[in-house]
Amino acid sequence: MKLVIAIIQPHRLEEVKKELYAAEVNLITVTEVLGHGRQIGVDEFYRGVRETGNLLRKVRLEIAVNENFVEPTIKAIIKGARTGKIGDGKIFVLDLPRCIRIRTSEEGAPAIG
């Protein structure tokens, strides 16, 4: 089992969701986050005072998958999120030692799907 974490541009979320559903990856958690990589933020001004706002709005996806779904998930995220410009985001794949479904106490592969 793997935990796929992806940081993407907010406006690509709808496309990424579409690609994930097409790859039959239906269970995702989405949060709104702030961050920046190499992308440069936009300066803000409040009554003439400059504030260098280098933190940009991003969307973070968390998807727990069984091994055979890892590559399709990664491909779907790239397909949906890629614009080719700086700021498209990153995908992290982590080992997932345990997964438990609260409703049934199922564990492991059946609990993920």
Binding site: Q9, H11, E14, E32, L34, V42, E44, G53, R57
Partner: protein
Amino acid sequence: MQSMNQINSGDTAWVLVSAVLVLLMTPALGFFYGGMVRRKNVLGVLMQCMACLSLVSVLWGIYGYSLAFSKGNWLFGGFDAVMLKGVGAAPNGDYAATIPQAAFMIFQCMFAVITPAVIVGAYAERVKFSAFLLFTVLWLTFVYCPIAHMAWGVGGLFRSWGILDFAGGTVVEINCGIAGLVTALYLGRRIGISHPSLHNIPFVVLGASLLWFGWNGFNAGSALACNAVAVNAFVTTNMAAGAAVVSWAALEWILTGKPTIFGSVTGAIAGLVAITPAAGFVDFTGALIIGCVVSVLSFFAVGILKQKFKYDDSLDAFGVHAVGGFWGMFATGILATKAVNAAGSNGLLLGNGVQLLIQIKCALITIAYCAGVTWIICNVVNRIIPMRVTAGEEIIGLDLSQHHERAYTILD
């Protein structure tokens, strides 16, 4: 010109109060629209409404009032009142014989302010701010002022035909709604909009409620006196809005299973739009009919027509204002009665079918003139300043890309 002795303090007080009620409608529109856009664009919308309030006020004093209301030809007023020359304490008997002309001018100023602000709803979330300013100046000059002159100005085409347009069914509502459709088509669809994307419905309700509040001044103030016609306009305005809310909510309940607050306030605005030309010419029964029917028409326009033809009128300037305005003009021609306003006219139901023809003719000319000139203005503006922001700016949002500000924080 009449003597100053005929100024009536009650009439003057009512028109000033009405002017301040209408003033509030433009910031209210900012909140109404602001809640409907994604949160990265809310300040952009508020700023555009504030720009209309401030910039159009100034231009109205410099030349707008003169172009619309001083003596001229059938299309335009003249330049006699440029810089408000001669617009002071003395009444102008052609418009309002019992109040200072300056009171009439400032009341009309608020109408000129809110009309281009309504168009903001059509091109929201993708217009470049500098291009918006240029568009607004040109549109005020070449669309708003001529239509206002034709409907209400001395020697104006519609006025000479005997139009019944109490508070701006043609001048304000059809005008801004058609201009909205044209600009929405000209700019094209927004990036990444595949579903409704309101960010703050309580703002929408706040804005709509303040619009309703102000609209009673918009319509009842258009009597330009504190008299029975003003009272009738207040009653019909409020009741039509109520009827439109009831019918919109009922329609949702039947067709989609639940009534919504967003639908209800949209119904309120549609009802207020439709009663605008009729307020001082129809009675309570007429107001109920106008309010109940407009919701059905606007519901169809925003829920079915817009989806089918795929134009991105972001916040439904066309579906509510043009559709509601046209219905209001049409219904006035059917339901008008001299029993509430001797200076008005009877409609079709009282045997005066000619009035209905006049109403339709004026509405159609407004549509044609507004669509054509707005299209030309879009082309001219786009040559000077591209009207649409770049894709990158649109994705970041107008708040940051056009104004260097952010409405909300996630962290402290």
